[in-house]
């Protein structure tokens, strides 16, 4: 079941578009904001509200990089793996994070604290290498700087 809060936030989006289906991506983002990810049950509930099939919604959810169809950690680390960051050594920064957290890119730590996801260019190439943790962008990464940043996310 969608919570009253989720439902109200989704319905507030209806005013911006001429039909309910156009709200599908916003609706899944709203649910994900509250729950961390978008479950099968959530798709059924969103489908009911928007008049869409679950398979349509799943096709949309899996297309977009920032929608998650399985649970993630409390914090998501997005490390840029595109060209400017690659030139500036993002491979090494990504390996550093993976070693420190004892996981492979794409995985979640055993304690559920972090998920590590390589992502396309984050648009801060003059400060490469770059990563985001949740909503925050972190620039000019070095292993030492990464260690300090990650400690802030508990």
């Amino acid at each position: 079941m969608l919570t009253p809060e989720e439902r109200a936030e989704i319905e507030a989006e209806f005013a911006h578009y001429p039909n309910r289906k156009a709200v599908s991506i916003d609706a899944m983002k709203i649910v994900q904001k509250h729950r961390g990810w978008v479950s099968d049950d959530a798709l059924i509930d969103i489908g009911g509200l928007l008049g869409m099939s679950v398979s349509d919604l799943d096709g949309i959810a899996t297309f977009y990089n920032l929608l998650f169809r399985h649970p993630v950690g409390r914090h998501v680390i997005y490390i840029c793996d595109s060209v400017s960051c690659w030139i500036m050594g993002s491979d090494r920064q990504c390996s550093h994070i993976a070693d420190r957290l004892k996981l492979q890119p794409g995985d979640t730590t055993a304690d559920g604290r972090f998920t590590l996801i390589p992502i396309v260019c984050l648009g801060a190439c003059d400060h490469a290498p770059v990563m985001m943790v949740d909503d925050d962008t972190h620039l000019d990464l070095t292993p030492e700087k990464i260690d300090r940043i990650l400690e802030r996310y508990t």
Partner: protein
């Protein structure tokens, strides 16, 4: 006299956003008042046509001409979309315009909206630009309160709604018709054209899509005139340009300079040249989907016309620099991985060819290159051309690959012959 910087000149030094008051004090919303009180939509289009403002998203299509494609008696509602999905690797110019002066974009959209008879407009913003999202939302609320958006703006009888759509991330969303599908709540596959968006776009209605930087120029053209705008440029394409540089230059960054500033001036004077101990080998002049240029092209003027003559495209104008200690094959491998991953999977040359090329390049980097690989790579790029695909993703992917095969052929051959990456 210092060069004029209409786009960035009034921005705050501390990186904060100009609020409505500060924007108005800097001359903001004057153009909108002028247009609504004294210009017809056709006169606005003519002024922008005369200015030679070319689209700053990468393709360089003349903005005024694009607006004129919405038929005069086309039905309503009509839509306008600001493409703020800046996802071209190596590109970080619109971020500044969105974060530091969102009202400039809003005014540009109100002007473009008036010119095209738009009823509803969207800013399509990439999901990762969180700060921009907060600042745009605040600016939209301020603009509505100031009477610059909404019903009967500035008592002119013209009404325009503006909404912010925050995307969920996919390179394909930046493609014009992919973006329209995304706004309709669908996968961002491109559409088969014709019909083109000015006739049948968002929700089947007439639609105009412009890049952020393009729209931000419009208030200045209206205030100062087309002739002034043309004079800002050193070449035929009007205005200034936000140029950027990333890679191993001394001072990576972003600069608003006259359109047509040379690659050498940008890289040497503004980016400070290469880092100590490194030599310049090549540059992607405008993002991942542009052809490499090399040392012989350093004096090429960065505008749409001249870069094209040199065999590449200006694209977004944000340059990615390759140095002599970075493997060109590794760089191209990274680029083709990006394109393969972000392809929507509709056209065969794209989904099939990109995956194949990605695997060949990865194998080459890992010392498993085979004789004949270079011919296979070149063969694939021949299918990644307009006419074989529905959108520009695969043609864009061809550009760095085909030019790398031309300029860095010896590096590819070494990978195959030595069965290793010589840079590792």
């Amino acid at each position: 006299m210092p060069a004029e910087k209409p786009l960035t000149g009034s921005m705050r030094a501390d990186g904060g956003a100009l609020n409505r008051d500060a924007y108005e004090r800097a001359g903001g919303y004057r153009a909108l008042r002028k247009v609504l009180s004294s210009m017809t939509p056709a006169a606005v289009i003519d002024e922008v046509k005369d200015s030679n403002l070319r689209g700053r998203g990468g393709a360089g299509f003349p903005a005024g001409l694009k607006w004129s494609f919405v038929p005069e008696h086309a039905p309503h509602p009509r839509y306008l979309v600001a493409n703020a999905d800046e996802m071209e690797p190596g590109t970080f110019k619109d971020r500044l315009l969105l974060e530091a002066n969102p009202h400039q974009l809003i005014e540009g959209m109100a002007l473009a909206g008036y010119a095209t008879g738009t009823d509803v407009a969207y800013i399509f913003l990439r999901g990762e630009y969180k700060l921009a999202a907060r600042r745009i939302s605040m600016a939209i609320a301020e603009a509505e309160e100031g009477g610059y958006l909404g019903k009967n703006i500035l008592n002119s009888g013209y009404s325009i709604e503006l909404h912010l759509h925050v995307s969920a991330g996919r390179y394909m969303c930046g493609e014009e018709t992919g973006m329209l599908n995304a706004l309709e709540g669908k996968r961002a596959n491109p559409r088969s054209k014709p019909p083109f968006p000015p006739v049948c776009g968002l929700f089947g209605m007439p639609t105009t899509v412009n890049n952020v930087e393009t729209l931000c120029n419009v208030p200045h053209i209206i205030n100062n005139g087309a002739a002034w705008f043309k004079r800002l440029s050193r070449g035929k394409d009007g205005g200034t340009k936000l140029y950027g540089a990333s890679g191993k230059v001394k001072h990576p960054g972003l600069w608003e300079l006259p359109m047509g500033t040379t690659i050498r001036e940008i890289l040497e004077e503004h980016a400070g040249g290469m880092r100590e101990g490194l030599r310049f080998r090549g540059v992607l002049p405008g993002g991942a989907s542009t052809d490499f240029l090399t040392e012989e092209h350093l004096d090429v003027a960065m505008d749409f016309t001249e870069v094209q003559k040199a065999g590449s495209r200006m694209g977004t104008g944000t340059m990615i620099v390759l140095d002599d200690k970075t493997c060109p094959v590794g760089m191209v491998s990274n680029l083709e991985h990006f394109f393969a991953q972000e392809s929507c999977g509709w056209c065969t040359p794209c989904w099939s060819g990109l995956g194949w090329v990605e695997r060949i390049l990865k194998a080459m980097e890992e010392g498993r290159g085979q004789p004949g690989d270079l011919e296979k790579l070149a063969f694939q790029t021949k299918f990644w051309t307009p006419g074989h695909t529905f959108c520009a993703l695969a043609p864009g992917a061809a550009e760095p690959l085909q030019s790398a095969l031309k300029y860095f052929r010896g590096d590819f051959e070494r990978h195959i012959n030595e069965k290793r990456c010589p840079w590792k």
